[in-house]
Symmetry: C2
Subunit: 428 residues, 2 copies
C-alpha cells in the first residue's frame, strides 16, 4: 500500500487491487492495526486489509473545527419559528474513531451544520430540554417536550414549532404530543435525519427546509415531516398518530399507515393531499398526564398467557395486545388459551385493548369465533389504530384519574377519535 | 318495511329510505329483533333498523345444501399433487347466524367449493392432520404438518404438496416448515384465503389455481402462494422465511420483506423473478425439534427490563427482542436501562437475539453507541431476519440439544443462512 496524506475524517478514495471504493476514512480500532476502515455513502462501514490497498486518494478534506459562537441573525422580513432540539442523528456527527455517530454538544454546533434552515425563516427561539437518543426516552421526556411546545405555541412572536428528534421512537413521541396538546393553534413539526449531517448522503437538509415551510404554513396539526421517497426530492407532512417507522435505514423510513399524509412538501411549496385543522387563535393547553403502568405486548403462536400474571402482579393498569390478523389470540381450542386469563385480569381492573400486528388494516372481532371469544372477555378493539399510538393513548387516558375509575369512560375515551388516531373513512 | 321472500343465506338487495345496499342477509341476533343484518361484499357487516327499510329484494338464492359424498375423479394425464388441509378461512363458510364464518367439516365439503383446483392437477391424496384457526396453532401443529409433508414429499407418486392454512400465523408456519424440512426435493406450497369461499369476493380460487401450478413446477422451495395485488389477476410465490402478513383483510395481505418473490404466478404460467432451488431426487428429511421455552418480546419506550426476570424465572431458554430502529433498547442513559438485565439473563444461559420492529431493513448495532452497548452484552443481531422467522428459528436451533449446550454454536447457527432467512444482497 502506498503512503497517503489522508487523515481520519478526510473524504478519500481507496484504490484496491481490484476495485475503487469512495467514502469517509475512519480511525482504525486499536485491535485492528492492519485494517483500513471506510464509511461508505450507503452508510455502511467497510474494512480492508492494508495489503490489499494500492493507494488512498484524498478527495475532500474533512471540515475543520470552527471556533467561537455561532450567531443566529434575525431578518425582520422572515417569519419566526421556534426549535426544540432533543438529540438523535439529526443532532449528531460522525465519530471517526468508531464509524458510529456522537451527539452535537451545543446549539451553535447544530446550526453551523444547517444553514439552509435560515433561508426561509428566523429561528427566533431554541430550546434544548435534553439531548438523548430517542430509544432512551420515555413518557417523562414526552411531557417535557409537550410542556416546552405549549409555551412556544402561546408565544405571539412564534409562528410554529420544529422539534428535532431521533428516529427510533419518533412516532411514539408524535402520538404523545397529539394527545398531550389540546386546542392546538399552530403547526407542531417533528423531524429527523437517518444520516448524520456531515455525511454526503444526509437527509437532514431537505427535512429541515420542508419543516421550516410547514412550520409557517396553516397546518395546525402535530405532524412528522420527512422524506417522501429515498430521493432528496420532497417530504410528506404526516399525521402524528398515523405514522410509523417502517425501515431501519432509508431516508423515507416513516410511512403513514391506514391514512394519507396531510401534504406533499417541497422546500418552496406545499401541495395539499388531505384535510387539516387550520391555524387559529386558540390558546394551546397542556394535558400530559400519563399512567406509567401500561404495557404493549405482541402475541406469538403458542404464547403462554401467564405473562398476564406478571403484569397483574407488577400493578399494571393497562395492556395493549398486538394480536394476529383481525385481532386474535390463542383461544379455548389451543393448548395455551388466553380467554380465561384475559377475563381474570380484566376482573382485577386491568384495561386490555387490541390492535393488530399486521400493521395495515383494522381489527374486527366479529368475523371469527376466536375474535368474538376474546371480545366477550371485555377487550377493547381499537379498529385501525396503530399499536404504538394505542400504547401512548392508553397511558394518556389512564393518566386521568377522573376517567380511570370508570371502565365505561375509559372505553369511550379509547374509542373516541381525539387526535386523528382512527381513520373512519378507511376501506378494506 | 315491506314483506320479503328472502331467507338468511340469500343474496339480497336492501332498499333503504335513502340508499340501496347489496350483500348476504344474516340471521338477526336474538337480542336485536328490530335489526336486519347484511354482510357486504367488502366483508363488513352492516345493521339496519327495520323501520328504515322500504323492502328487501332477493337477488340470488343461497346455495342449497347438497347431499352425499363428493367424488375426487383422477385423470391419468394430469400430474398428482397432495393436499394438507389444516383449517382457516379457506376451509370455512359464512355462518349466517353471526355473520362470521365456521369451518367446513369434511374434505368433500371443501372440494365441492373448489372445482377449479382440479382443472390442472389430480389431487391424489388429502391429509387433514387437524382443523383449526391458525391463531390456535403452535409448534406442535407445525411439527404435525412437517411430518405429513415429508411423508408426501417422499411419495414418488406426488409432484408437490399444497397446504391450506389460516392467515393469522401462516408466515410463522411457512418459516417453521422452511427449517423443519431438510433436503427439500419438491414444491411445498402454503396458501390461504381472506374471504370464505361462499363469498362473491373470495380470493380462494385464484390462490388455489396458482398453488396447483406452483406445486407441479420445479420450485423446490417452501413458499407461500397468494394474491400479488388486491385484484384477482396473479399470485406471487414468496419465500417461506421472508414473508409476513401485512394487512388484516386485503387479499394481497402477504408481502415479501427484505427480499423478492420467487415468481409471479398466473393460473396458466409462471414468470421467474428470482433464483430458486430446483426439483431434485433428494429424500426429504424431518428435523422438527423445537424448544418450547422461547419468547418474542417487542420493546416499547420506557419499558421496564424486569420483564426479563419473568422469562428467566419461567425457565425460558431463548428470547427474540424486537428492538427499535437499527436494534436499540433503553440503555444506561435512560430511567429503565436494559443493559445490566440483559447481561444478567445471558449469564444465566438465556440466548438473546435482536431484530427490528421497523420490519423493513436490517439491524446494525455498530452505528450508535446504544447498539454497541447492547451488542457488548452478548445479544445476537440477526441482520435483516424477520422477527417472526427469528422466533421460529431460535426455537428450532435451541431444540437441538447438541447445539444448545454451546453458545458459540447457537450463535453460528442463528447467523447461518439455512433457509433463505438472510438476504445477503439486501441494500439499504
Amino acid at each position: 500500500m502506498e503512503k497517503t496524506a489522508a487523515k481520519p475524517g478526510d473524504y478519500v478514495e481507496v484504490h484496491l487491487t481490484k476495485l475503487i471504493y469512495e467514502g469517509i476514512l475512519l480511525e482504525s480500532p486499536e485491535n485492528e492495526k492492519g485494517t483500513v476502515l471506510l464509511k461508505l455513502d450507503s452508510g455502511y462501514n467497510i474494512g480492508f486489509n492494508k495489503k490489499d490497498i494500492l493507494k488512498i486518494v484524498l478527495m475532500k478534506k474533512a471540515r475543520e473545527k470552527e471556533k467561537g459562537e455561532f450567531e443566529v441573525k434575525k431578518n425582520p422580513e422572515k417569519k419566526n419559528v421556534a426549535m426544540i432540539i432533543t438529540g438523535g442523528t439529526i443532532a449528531s456527527v460522525l465519530d471517526t474513531k468508531t464509524g458510529g455517530v456522537h451527539p452535537l454538544q451545543k446549539p451553535e454546533d447544530f446550526f453551523r451544520f444547517y444553514p439552509e434552515l435560515f433561508e426561509k425563516v428566523n429561528v427566533a427561539k431554541i430550546e434544548i430540554p435534553f439531548m438523548k437518543s430517542s430509544e432512551d426516552m420515555d413518557f417523562k421526556d414526552w411531557q417535557k417536550i409537550a410542556k416546552t411546545t405549549v409555551e412556544l405555541l402561546n408565544d405571539n412572536n412564534i409562528q410554529g414549532v420544529i422539534i428535532t428528534h431521533g428516529t427510533d421512537t419518533l412516532h411514539y413521541t408524535s402520538s404523545a404530543l397529539s394527545f398531550f396538546i389540546k386546542d392546538l393553534n399552530k403547526p407542531v413539526i417533528l423531524t429527523y435525519s437517518q444520516r448524520s449531517i456531515d455525511r454526503a448522503s444526509s437527509d437532514a437538509n431537505l427535512n429541515l427546509q420542508c419543516s421550516a415551510l410547514a412550520a409557517i404554513s396553516d397546518i395546525a396539526e402535530v405532524s412528522l415531516v420527512g422524506h417522501g421517497t429515498s430521493n432528496d426530492d420532497f417530504c410528506y407532512s404526516m399525521p402524528g398518530t398515523k405514522v410509523r417507522k417502517l425501515h431501519t435505514s432509508r431516508r423515507d423510513a416513516f410511512k403513514v399507515v391506514n391514512d394519507k399524509p396531510f401534504a406533499k412538501i417541497f422546500p418552496d411549496k406545499i401541495e395539499r393531499i388531505s384535510e387539516w385543522k387550520i391555524r387559529n387563535k386558540n390558546k394551546a393547553k397542556l394535558d400530559a398526564k400519563f399512567e406509567e403502568k401500561v404495557a404493549l405486548v405482541k402475541i406469538y403462536p403458542g404464547q403462554n398467557p401467564d405473562i398476564l400474571d406478571y403484569y397483574s402482579k407488577k400493578g399494571y393498569k393497562g395492556i395493549v395486545l398486538e394480536l394476529t390478523g383481525l385481532g386474535h389470540a390463542p383461544t379455548k381450542k389451543s393448548r395455551n388459551s388466553w380467554t380465561l386469563k384475559l377475563k381474570e385480569i380484566q376482573k382485577k381492573g386491568i384495561v386490555v385493548c387490541a390492535t393488530s400486528q399486521c400493521i395495515f388494516g383494522k381489527v374486527d372481532p366479529l368475523v371469527y369465533s376466536n375474535g368474538r371469544e376474546i371480545l366477550a372477555t371485555g377487550v377493547i378493539y381499537l379498529e385501525d389504530m396503530l399499536s404504538e399510538t394505542a400504547f401512548v393513548k392508553l397511558g394518556w387516558v389512564l393518566g386521568h384519574e377522573e376517567w380511570k375509575k370508570n371502565k365505561k369512560i375509559v372505553k369511550e375515551k379509547m374509542l373516541e377519535n381525539i387526535a386523528g388516531e382512527f381513520n373512519k373513512r378507511l376501506e378494506e
